[in-house]
Symmetry: C2
Subunit: 388 residues, 2 copies
């Protein structure tokens, strides 16, 4: 992605040097399970990048002079130890929800250094939301640290940084979030759908780690999916990929806010489960329904089970069409755990091809922080670090 | 893909040279609507590759000495004209079906020079099928032309060159088609599912041309899809992506050969349409059904329409999840043309998100040759052309 921004002609020695610098930086900022930025010996960098030791040594010298890496005298023949410098700057991840705003400050590996989550009123205007996010970022960031990039997550379809859907996220309707975000933060901003960010986080540091393709399904009031293919976020031609919530199961089923009927969302969202139990557990919150199910209540268990069977049916379409390595379930409904997942796997087995029916389905490891962590990772991955 | 086979260390001058050679060769073998291998001036090659004129000149000289390109004295300052040499060798595409075997000879752009299609008996053993394919290739190939690569299409799921499904293609059950194919042809062989090859052909030279993502759905006795994302064939983790035929629409629907019920294939395959009309048009072939529908017969029209509505419903899942630029309908059922496609678009509109419901759905431009042309293109794209 960032390579397209390079001014170097392809095939030139300068572009070779830039590509080699990037290769070293990408190793240095590869994430590490939430630990501090990893220290590499120059020998390790040479092995990880495939570059010659002498080339690595020159690159490390240039990056050190530019303040991007710190080096420590090494132990003999393996060369000095290198790590991304704390002075290289920070990134911010911002997760805007319907009723919350969360901000995380991260280093250039995407590791979170500090974070905060606040409740916001419904239909909060985007100008106020952005101003609050900037203020929270300023409180959290270390004094003097340069903010290199911001990743911004929104619970809506996003195409080229612009919020597409009218109905789904009123305060941001048709807003060019990338432009207004860049102006508010004074840094480059990338904008993504929140399910896509959750997918990125689970793929890099959660349950999708180590695979080359994973799907993250976020189930709260809405139902959406983020798709990682070949280790990259996949958005589709118009940025609309992953709309699992609007797969149709019954064309005579309940009307959906999208204008169709019998969509997955009408069977498996939090509201759908609450609706099923409207007479038996009127006004119950999701957590109350889960608690009731855990006592063995057959009605609450059945409602979660039916949501899970439909979700498994929807996942069968995902695995039949895209054959991912793993499916991760997140969002509020994931708190139901095995009460939901057991029937999800049953639905998947009933409806997927036999060779695909055992695709692992697991609960999110990152919980409600998934989209926020993904926003910080996105910001780190999109940060332009090349030196001249 | 092929770059992984290179012995050059990444980041070295040798690998830069190899990458630049590849860049020039990839331009020279870019396909051209079925015309002869395109002639480029060196100035055009420099522009298309972004390389310096002097670099292009050196590369063309090296490639010429290796016999891979022909040069002609150019008209003055634009430098000599260059094209892929006919002496650089040929590729073969082979399309094995349940009742046919087709072979195409192509140049290194994937352009077909000669082709032949023959009927074969059902359950033809793979050894005999391969021997026949080799014999047909030998008849078609120009005397003395080196066979550089073979692309082989099979109507079955294929993982790492091995036929996966027991039920679907009996003569090839569990056969390592890449290995036995390489032995039979004495050339490197790549194996792909036939719908994937149709997708590649439509994307490169058919209705998907000019987009970055397209889906090809092949509807004959079976129903399968090939998916092109970011201009590359997408196969999924285990090579099983694109199984649109086994999306479930009614869990109480007709039993499907896959072991599930109410799969798309049970509503939209040729046999499904024939089955609907079993009492009204007993024993009618698909073409007889289409001809009857064209006379205005309401029963035949309704059978095609219902197949189309279900297909549109299935495509809604494809566009909601993957948001491709275009969907191309191929296989035998595509011969029904608008009698099918009109209801396909209706089904899509009813079941896809409104922003995705107008994704274009068109009939294959390449017809029954799609998989064969894709096999030749695959062979050309996988041919290793690097010189030292």
């Amino acid at each position: 992605m960032t390579s397209e921004r390079s001014d170097h002609a392809p095939g030139s020695t300068a572009s070779l040097r830039a590509a080699n610098q990037r290769r070293v930086l990408d190793v240095l900022r590869s994430t590490t399970d939430g630990e501090a930025a990893t220290v590499f010996t120059q020998a390790e960098l040479a092995r990880a990048t495939g570059l010659a030791r002498a080339t690595v040594s020159n690159i490390v010298r240039d990056l050190g002079q530019a303040g991007l890496v710190d080096t420590e005298a090494g132990s003999g023949r393996r060369g000095s130890a290198v790590r991304l410098s704390e002075g290289a700057g920070i990134v911010a991840g911002v997760d805007f929800g319907h009723s919350h705003l969360a901000v995380a400050i991260g280093d250039l590996t995407g590791r979170v250094l500090a974070e905060e989550r606040r409740a916001i009123p419904p239909e909060f205007p985007h100008e106020e939301a952005l101003a609050l996010a900037v203020a929270m970022t300023d409180e959290l960031r270390p004094a003097g640290a340069a903010l290199r990039h911001v990743g911004l997550g929104l619970p809506a379809p996003v195409t080229d940084g612009v919020v597409q859907s009218a109905a789904i996220f009123p305060g941001w309707r048709n807003v060019d979030a990338r432009t207004v975000g860049s102006e508010a933060f004074g840094s480059p901003v990338d904008v993504e759908n929140d399910a896509n960010l959750g997918a990125l986080a689970e793929h890099r540091i959660g349950e999708g780690r180590g695979t080359d393709s994973s799907v993250f399904v976020k189930i709260s009031s809405g139902v959406g999916a983020g798709i990682i293919l070949r280790n990259e976020l996949f958005q589709g031609t118009a940025g609309s990929a992953g709309e699992i919530g609007h797969l149709t199961f019954d064309e005579q089923g309940p009307l959906c806010r999208c204008g169709s009927r019998g969509c997955l969302e009408t069977y498996t969202s939090v509201q759908a489960v609450q609706g099923l139990l409207a007479s038996q557990l009127p006004g119950a919150s999701l957590d109350e329904i889960i608690a009731t199910a855990e006592t063995g209540d057959v009605l609450a268990r059945r409602a979660l089970e039916d949501a899970g069977l439909h979700l498994g049916w929807g996942l069968a379409a995902v695995v039949n069409l895209m054959n991912p390595s793993v499916v991760v379930i997140g969002g509020d409904m994931a708190r139901a755990g095995e009460l939901l997942l057991e029937s999800v796997r049953t639905g998947l087995r009933r409806h997927a091809l036999d060779t695909l029916a055992l695709t692992p389905v697991v609960a999110s490891r990152l919980g409600e922080r998934a989209s926020l962590l993904g926003a910080a990772l996105l910001a780190a991955e999109r940060t332009e670090l090349l030196v001249d």
